[in-house]
């Protein structure tokens, strides 16, 4: 391993300081460790090393060495290699390290490599009594996230159809990730777990409206998503009143027997009924009558 590491460090030092693409031949003749006797041995070794550099996220590129594009060489752009200055104090770095161990994406926390880039690992054994599982592996999420920050047009499949989106960002809400952006002049939200085969285009392809809020693209309550809202009044018995009140916030009126009557805007009856059923027979729609009838039909189809 020692010889491999030496060779790769020399290669990387060379590529980071060469201000032009360098051919494989030039690397073989110049960089210590590549002076192999046979062509085949060199190429095998060089292929392995390129693979290793790329697996670490090093931006190794193949580019023409001249304008006629007859010959190609390798380059690592120092600007793309380097981490921009973040300048964290030790206290800030440790706070971020602890947070990163408390929050998981699909069962995984951020690896130690990321923390080392920022100046070192956090304390061993976590220690944060607050945690989160954000429920999805990072692969597709990071492609979409990078496309949003780099302003790359994103192509993907969604429920069997191809979509082309200018991505504005990712929103995690009620346990799900939504990809939000503009498609055909309209703002749309897509469930990330139903999307796949992501392909990102070139950076800087569109402008994101300044001050755009992702939350504005997805309504707060599932039953508020829909075309026309009706105002319903619902009675919750004393036994469940605390729970209804906690979920609904302010718009409730207390009855004498300890129950509450809540006023709720309903635009999506199916989602609303699903929620209401969790109260079993301790809740009742009082008005309007047709919503009441539809609920009865839902329960006894």
């Amino acid at each position: 391993m020692r010889r491999v590491m030496e060779r790769i460090l020399n290669l990387l030092a060379f590529l980071l300081t060469a201000d032009r693409p360098v051919t494989a031949d030039e690397i073989r003749q110049t960089v210590a460790g590549y002076d192999q006797d046979s062509d085949e041995a060199f190429h095998r070794m060089f292929e392995r090393d390129k693979e290793l550099l790329r697996s670490m996220g090093i931006p190794l590129e193949l580019r023409p060495t001249d304008v006629w594009e007859v010959e190609f060489g390798y380059s690592v752009d120092p600007e793309r290699y380097r981490l921009p200055e973040v300048d964290l104090t030790d206290e800030e770095r440790l706070a971020l390290a602890i947070a990163s161990q408390a929050v998981r994406l699909g069962g995984h926390t951020v690896g130690p490599e990321a923390l080392m880039k920022l100046g070192g690992l956090g304390p061993a054994g976590g220690g944060e009594p607050l945690g989160a599982e954000l429920g999805m592996r990072a692969e597709n999420l990071s492609t979409a996230f990078e496309a949003a920050t780099e302003r790359q047009v994103l192509r993907f499949r969604y429920r069997g159809r191809s979509r082309v989106l200018e991505p504005y960002g990712l929103l995690h809400q009620r346990g799900h990730w939504y990809l939000i952006g503009k498609e055909g002049g309209e703002i749309r939200a897509f469930r990330m777990d139903r999307a796949d085969r992501f392909e990102a285009g070139e950076p800087g392809a569109f402008e994101r409206p300044p001050g755009f809020r992702l939350q504005a693209a997805v309504p707060d309550e599932p039953w508020a998503i829909g075309d026309q809202a009706v105002t319903a009044t619902v009675r919750f018995d004393e036994r469940v009143a605390w729970w209804a009140e906690r979920q609904l916030g302010g718009s409730v009126e207390r009855a004498e027997d300890g129950g509450v009557v809540a006023t709720i805007e309903v635009a999506n009856p199916a989602a609303f009924f699903g929620w209401l059923i969790t109260f079993e027979d301790s809740a009742e729609i009082l008005t309007p009558e047709d919503l009441r009838q539809r609920f009865i039909e839902q329960v006894a189809p």
């Binding site: 391993m1 590491m5 790769i8 460090l9 060379f14 300081t17 960089v31 210590a32 290793l52 697996s55 670490m56 996220g57 120092p78 290699y81 380097r82 981490l83 973040v86 964290l88 104090t89 206290e91 770095r93 971020l96 990163s100 929050v103 998981r104 926390t109 490599e113 990321a114 080392m116 880039k117 100046g119 220690g127 009594p129 945690g131 989160a132 599982e133 954000l134 429920g135 990072a138 999420l141 990071s142 492609t143 996230f145 949003a148 504005y168 995690h172 346990g175 799900h176 755009f212 992702l214 605390w242 729970w243 009924f273 079993e280 027979d281 609920f295 009865i296 839902q298 006894a300 189809p301």
Partner: protein
């Protein structure tokens, strides 16, 4: 990543830090980058035989190493660590944003996230909303941190029963849009997970408990047990979301129909699901779940003044 890649990745983060801190104490380098002393010395010995073509004294990296300290010079090209990969950047920003959304982040974390996002050029491309339960989450988190048991009044999601119990809280966490606390429940005499929005009151006690040596996972791992209610449910396409939401076992899947085996700690959970599905779902196996569904339907209809004949 291969072991070589991992070792190189660590070295390429360690070298910039040492370059920036001439005379860096070896102990601190070991702690920051997770090295044993002999591993660190081996990596430093490797660095100083590397450099630029020519590989003469003026081309190689200079490493000054003694018993206590190290200095690295002549390696400007390694003066900065490698940029964060997209997945790493997302993970760090998501972790910080998540804790900030709970209102439980320290000022140091807020500053860290602020610096990180501006360095990475992230403006508002990531937003996390949490089902906020600020007051109780705060109380429970503090109790977990200080190892105080809490007395909770809890209404079970399954059967709706309300109990008062004393819990030693280990971890407060959020997943699938809900907040949970996990810890040792003295009433059950075992580890339990409670949904925070189902806790009516939480009162920390004065005494202290011994926390577990291994921190628990922030996950509601549902393990089917022999006492569980089981039903095989037939779903029409509009109800296929059930297979995405719940940890079901897919028995059969066709374009126009899907059969799933659904496990729940209480039959009433299946009953509520069935009423919610309406005509789009049918129980094809599971007498207990069917009875619970019929019972729930009858009770709700009675509330609306409708009686049905069986």
């Amino acid at each position: 990543m291969s072991r070589t890649a991992e070792r190189l990745a660590r070295l390429l983060s360690m070298v910039p830090w040492v370059i920036e801190h001439p005379g860096a104490p070896l102990d601190e380098v070991c702690e920051r980058f997770g090295y044993r002393r002999d591993e660190l010395v081996a990596d430093l010995n490797l660095v100083f035989v590397c450099g630029l073509p020519g590989y003469g004294p003026g081309d190689l990296i200079d490493v000054y190493l003694d018993e206590r300290e190290v200095t690295i010079e002549m390696a400007d090209y390694f003066a900065r660590p490698l940029r964060l990969e997209a997945g790493e950047a997302l993970g760090l920003v998501a972790a910080g944003t998540m804790l900030m959304a709970t209102g439980q982040a320290s000022p140091a974390l807020e500053r860290a996230v602020d610096k990180l996002t501006s360095a990475l050029g992230v403006t508002d491309e990531l937003a996390i909303e949490v089902a906020a339960e600020p007051e109780l989450v705060g109380v429970l988190r503090q109790a977990a941190e200080e190892h105080h048991p809490v007395e909770i009044v809890y209404t079970a999601v399954g059967d709706g029963s309300t109990t008062t119990r004393i819990v030693e809280p280990w971890l407060v966490f959020t997943t699938l849009g809900n907040w949970y606390v996990t810890g040792f429940c003295r009433l059950a005499g075992a580890r339990r997970v409670f949904r925070v929005d189902r806790i009516r009151t939480a009162t920390p006690l004065r005494e202290r408990f011994e926390p577990p040596a291994e921190p628990p996972e922030p996950d509601v791992t549902y393990v089917a047990s022999p006492e569980d209610a089981v039903a095989v449910i037939e779903l029409d396409p509009p109800a296929y979301w059930v297979a995405e939401y719940y940890p079901v076992e897919i028995v059969e899947q066709r374009d126009d129909l899907m059969r799933v085996r659904f496990f729940a700690s209480d039959p009433s959970i299946i009953a509520r699901l069935m009423l919610r599905l309406g005509t789009h779902g049918r129980i094809v196996e599971g007498d207990e779940a069917q009875a619970a569904t019929d019972d729930l339907r009858r009770r709700i209809l009675a509330r609306y003044g409708v009686t049905i004949s069986q």
